[in-house]
Amino acid sequence: MSLVLVGMNHRSAPLALREHYAAADPREALTKLVGDEIAEAVLVSTCNRVDVVVWAPRVDVARLRLRSFFERDLAREGVPDCGVALEDALYEFEGAEAARHVFRVASSVDSMVLGEPQILGQVKDAWRLAVECGACGSILSRLHERAFACGKRVRNETGIAERPVSVARVAADLAGEIFESLEGKTALLIGAGEMIELALEAMRGAGLARIRIANRTPARAAALAERFDASAHGLGDLPGLLAEADVVLTSLGGDRPLLGRPELEAALQARRRRPMFVIDIGVPRNVDPAANELEGVYLYDLDDLGDLAEANAAERRREKIRAEAIVLEEQQRFDGWLSALSAVPTIRDLRERAEAVRAREVERVLGRLELSPDARDGVEQLTRQIVNKILHAPIARLRDQEDRAQGLAILETARDLFDLDGREPGRDEEGASADPSDDLED
């Protein structure tokens, strides 16, 4: 039995291919997948990846089955027009590498945006779904539980998710460095384009008391304001609006800056020098950069926000090294558990087989001899002790497997030597001699 993972992500496959194989109904897909060839399966299907990890008796069979799973069960109708074939886009991992991949995904080390928080929840959802539809058993559950713990450790022990890397989040973080909270604050949005709409979406839950929208065309501002429970204004109202605004976001077309130092100076005086956070995402810029020299004005343009986002992304990349070390540690821990677990059935089979041989041979010999009950007990006890002593060293060796690869090799050898996967114990020895030397002579 081994772990096998087949999948595609944002690096191996273009979006067109990923959306073609994104699971439309993961529950149904998993139900189809699990059977004789696949014992357990978990399917993670997000916008950036489609990963299927399985616990299967035979690696080669599982690989083939998973490839056909993508082709037959996950593929949507039509042919993706992206110039990349499915077989080139799929990656495969087996055993420890498969476990490591799951851990990396859950820790967002493998994400498009390093350290993004959504992926852990998405993997959790995928695992829950697999459990609900009976596709996930003890092995993959354990794997995912460890992966979640790994993800949590990476978030807590490294700075991989600490600093924002999107322009919107950087702006929100900056607001948090200036203001105690956005609750009760007033935001002024200048413009009514797509960027302003996106900003409105982002600000909705921030607890702002008032949102004002000012635009050259008041009708457009009014349409937007109606949707977002804001008030609409023309640009002529700006002096009064600026005096009330704690956060100003501008994204307006035009050749000349809309707001200069004097306008903001006047606004500061009118608002008793309370600070203003001005975000200028207009191109060309809507606010004169000299306004940043005013004591209470914190002015950031698109480049400033982009530079901060990039600096934060670089910081996250540095933290990735520490995250990878945690992933490796957790993967080795899981491997140790899996290895020990695999030894248990082998040890049990070995004991059962030895006991079956002992019991049969003792019965055969005692049948020919006329012994008192005490003597019979003595023979039983003696043979049990001999078997236990012979098995003691091999069983101890099977239990103490620190190295996963070597441990699996030992287990395989033990099963082969003692024929634990072959004929039923007892039956094959029917005609065999009780004396091992007879076998040697043959």
Partner: protein, 264 residues
């Protein structure tokens, strides 16, 4: 026993200072929270030390510099903990905890070596004066610390770049609120301290104003904080100017008061 409690207080404050520094440099909120909790524990032990002190002598001979510095550390810590309950100010512990430790550490080692002013006629006014003035100075210290962090944070935000090593600082708005509150309360307490000081001197020496360097320095400090409070209430100064003034004001206070006390 009391000396032991002071030593224990210093140890707890030191632990809080280490945790606050660790929490800030590792950007670990759990460690930062633990630092604030440890600081609160330190303030409790510190209060125990004062109670034990008070049990042995009344009025307490706290008119010496060690006792006053210890009181300042305690008031400053209590004020910080009170405002930290309402504002996002965990980051300020990086300054408050080491300052509290240094204050108590100084008090613990200096108390045994320097002479204590014995209880005398008018000692009650003296004790009240020291308590009020120390509390006022402590609040001036917190305002100075908040002002210092405000100036640093403001500069970072204006320069629009972050250093990898930069510590997470409290929001400017929170620092400004602490600054304003501490300056206003501090001014009130220093005013009361000046009044009780006058009463004390009158009772013990029969003079209206002693004219000592200590009294004169305190009067100048009172005037500085008064000017700060008035200009802030009239919105004549912005947050940055107020922060700078609080830093300069406390630096002057510390130099004047401690310098006068130490140098005689």
């Amino acid at each position: 026993m009391n000396l032991d409690l002071h030593a224990l207080t210093a140890a707890v404050y030191l632990l809080a200072a280490i945790l606050a520094t660790l929490g800030a440099s590792l950007r670990n909120s759990r460690v930062a929270r633990a630092a604030v909790a440890t600081l609160a524990a330190g303030a409790l032990v510190h209060a125990g030390a004062f109670l034990a002190f008070h049990e042995f002598q009344f009025p307490p001979p706290s008119t010496g510099l060690p006792g006053a510095v210890s009181l300042m550390a305690w008031f400053g810590t209590i004020f910080y903990l009170a405002v930290a309950l309402r504002l996002r100010l965990r980051g300020l512990a990086v300054v408050v905890a080491p300052a509290a430790f240094l204050g108590v550490f100084f008090a613990a080692i200096a108390r045994g070596t320097g002479p204590e002013t014995p209880a005398e006629a008018g000692a009650l006014w003296g004790a009240v004066h020291v308590v009020l003035a120390s509390a006022g100075l402590a609040l001036g210290g917190v305002a100075g610390a908040a002002g210092l962090l405000f100036v640093l944070h403001h500069r970072g935000l204006k320069q629009k770049r972050r250093k990898r090593s930069s510590l997470p600082l409290p929001p400017l708005e929170a620092l400004d609120r602490v600054n304003s509150l501490a300056v206003a309360l501090g001014f009130l307490l220093i005013s009361l301290g000046v009044v009780t000081g006058v009463l004390w001197v009158q009772e013990t020496r029969g003079e209206l104003w002693p004219g000592s360097p200590h009294a004169n320095a305190m009067l100048v400090a009172w005037a500085i904080y008064g000017a700060l409070v008035i200009s802030r209430s009239l919105s004549a100064t912005g947050a940055l100017q107020a922060a700078r003034s609080a830093v300069i004001g406390f630096a002057f206070l510390a130099l004047a008061v401690a310098g006068v006390e130490v140098l005689g």
